[in-house]
């Protein structure tokens, strides 16, 4: 039954495998290990993963108000027919974090407190590898002032690189200064770079940026008190401004279905969702739905949209837990799953081998078992 199979054929079968199998098969032979670890293979496998949504997983970070340092992470497989499997606890690298953003199977975790230095890690939970970013100082101006940073994580398709952006704003007492410091970290170069251009704005409103099409986006206030959307392109490092589709409600940005998503939220009243169907074309802003009282059995507030259902008729949204919002029926229904933690934040992943050369995430349970031996 076994006869020699040319590597070319092996190469058209392997990218279809779940990442757990690929990691295991690194040990089949030196040739297979070299193949699977190659950057070409990583690219192929990622393309295939994106196309087929393979290994689709939700990463849940428990949010315990009472015990913030003990929040656990879980992974939940999510099938092609919109069904959720059992949540399994997984170990995050190092210590406690918040989810900043995620892309192509990578989750960027952030630990940040005002006036303190931040810690940032990029993690591939499905292969249990991570990379911790080197600490980068803020180039403070000469006079004493406080700084506050906002972050973003995303993919730069032109350079095929994953990047973290940090924008620092400065305060002299309560007064916001009119300059910012922008630095970008690239996973390929593994170092930070300062962007010399100045932001064409007065103030940033978004807590964190939203990444799409190789650019970071924030809700900002321009000099003339006009609120708009600022886009920063990672490849050509240029800034661009977009008009918001609405002026009512608290403006929030997100990404849904591969489009920039704008929400206008009026607490307890409504949450209005618009998509920029053609990126960069302001006239393509289209309302896709508006959640109003009666549609959901809880207080209307900011609900983060995560993804569309397979048929595009429902949207998975994050409140304290998860719920499906049916666009046609205008009704939200909580996802009931006994294995989910009570309250959590969500990231979505697909199987990828990015960061295969990163550091191992130590499984505390495994460590305990080793010591017992």
């Amino acid at each position: 039954m076994s006869h020699y199979v040319p590597l070319e054929l092996i190469n058209s079968i392997l990218p279809r495998l779940p990442v757990k199998a690929l990691i295991r098969f690194l040990c089949v032979s030196k040739e297979w290990s070299a193949l699977i670890s190659s950057s070409n293979f990583t690219k192929n496998q990622l393309s295939h993963s994106i196309e087929t949504n393979s290994n689709r997983t939700l990463i849940l970070k428990e949010t315990c108000i009472n015990l913030p340092l003990q929040s656990r992470f879980f992974s939940v497989p999510y099938s092609d027919n919109d069904q959720f499997g059992k949540a399994v606890q997984i170990y995050q690298p190092l210590h406690n974090w918040d989810i900043l953003d995620y892309c192509h199977g990578l989750v960027c975790l952030l630990f940040y407190k005002y006036k303190e230095k931040e810690d940032i890690v990029i993690w591939n939970p499905l292969i249990r590898k991570y990379r911790k970013l080197p600490r980068e100082p803020i180039d403070e101006p000469e006079f004493s002032c406080d700084s506050f940073s906002r972050f973003g994580f995303g993919y730069d398709p032109i350079n095929d690189d994953y990047k973290v952006v940090r924008i620092a704003e400065f305060y002299e007492g309560p007064v916001l200064m009119d300059f910012f410091e922008v630095k970008v970290y690239g996973l390929k170069s593994q170092c930070w770079k300062k962007i010399e251009k100045q932001l064409p704005i007065k103030e940033i409103w978004s807590m964190q940026s939203v990444s799409l099409n190789g650019a970071f986006h924030w809700i900002v206030e321009q000099d003339d008190r006009l609120e708009s959307i600022l886009a920063f392109d990672l490849a050509n490092e240029k800034f661009q401004l977009f008009r918001k589709p609405l002026n009512e409600g608290m403006p929030i940005l997100d990404v849904l279905g591969g489009c920039l998503c704008f929400m206008g939220v009026v607490e307890e009243t409504y949450s209005d969702f618009w998509l920029m169907k053609e990126y960069g074309d302001e006239s393509s802003w289209t309302r896709i739905y508006k959640i109003e009282p009666g549609a959901v059995p809880w207080n209307i507030d900011y609900f983060k949209p995560l993804l569309f259902s397979k048929n595009g008729k429902k949207v998975l949204m994050e409140e304290v837990s998860l719920f499906w919002y049916d666009i046609e029926k205008k009704r939200g229904k909580m996802v009931k799953n006994q294995s989910f933690p009570k309250r959590f934040k969500t990231a979505t992943c697909i199987g990828s081998l990015l960061l295969l050369d990163g550091d191992y995430v130590i499984d505390l349970k495994q460590k305990k078992n080793k010591r017992k031996r």
Binding site: M1, S2, H3, Y4, V5, E8, L9, I10, S12, I13, L14, R16, L17, P18, K20, A21, I23, R24, F25, L26, C27, V28, S29, K30, E31, W32, R128, Y360, D363, Q366
Partner: protein, 184 residues
């Protein structure tokens, strides 16, 4: 009006082609199906260009790298695919055909030995049969995805060139990837 049995007979002239396998068996195949094998299509088009006037059922296309049993399966699979020359179906007919195809595919895979999958992939590759390659590659991936390293080595005829301590290192560091694997 539509023929509810297997495949509606194409209304216009359905030229047939003859394919000859490595074990000298002849297969008469409808042009529409044979054209899904791009290698055959290329051969056919080359023949058309040449001065030899004979076409259709009088041309025998040799496939020295493909055994009859394998070709039979590939032809059978090719017939079940949506035909490019067939009349367009309405949504309902399309859904029914999809379900039929899924059922056929499941039945096909059930009766195949894993080793035969390799032969099918090899032949589909030689014939440049894209849909067949996609299907059988995925079937093989599905078959091995939860198998052990030893099984995979045996299946593909791969010699383990790792030193025991090197292999042990992998198994320890990636212990989680070795959990829950099918028994050999």
């Amino acid at each position: 009006m539509s023929n509810t049995s297997e495949n509606p007979k194409p209304s216009s002239s359905s030229a047939k082609m003859t394919l000859k396998t490595s074990d000298n068996e002849l297969f008469e195949v409808e042009e529409a199906v044979a054209m899904k094998f791009c290698t055959v299509k290329q051969y056919f088009e080359d023949e058309k260009d040449s001065d030899v006037a004979a076409r259709g059922s009088t041309t025998v296309i040799p496939l020295p790298n493909v055994h009859s049993a394998v070709l039979a399966t590939l032809i059978s699979y090719g017939k079940k695919l949506p035909q490019s020359n067939a009349v367009a179906d309405n949504h309902e007919e399309e859904e029914t055909k999809k379900k039929e195809r899924k059922k056929y595919e499941q039945g096909l895979l059930k009766n195949l030995m894993p080793g035969e999958l390799l032969d099918l992939i090899s032949a589909a590759n030689y014939l440049d049969f894209k849909e067949g390659l996609e299907f059988f590659n995925q079937a093989l991936a599905d078959h091995i995805q939860n198998k052990s390293v030893e099984y995979v080595r045996k299946f593909f005829g791969i010699k383990n060139d790792y030193e025991p301590h090197e292999e042990e290192k992998y198994r320890e560091e990636y212990a989680w990837a070795f959990e829950g694997v099918d028994e050999d």
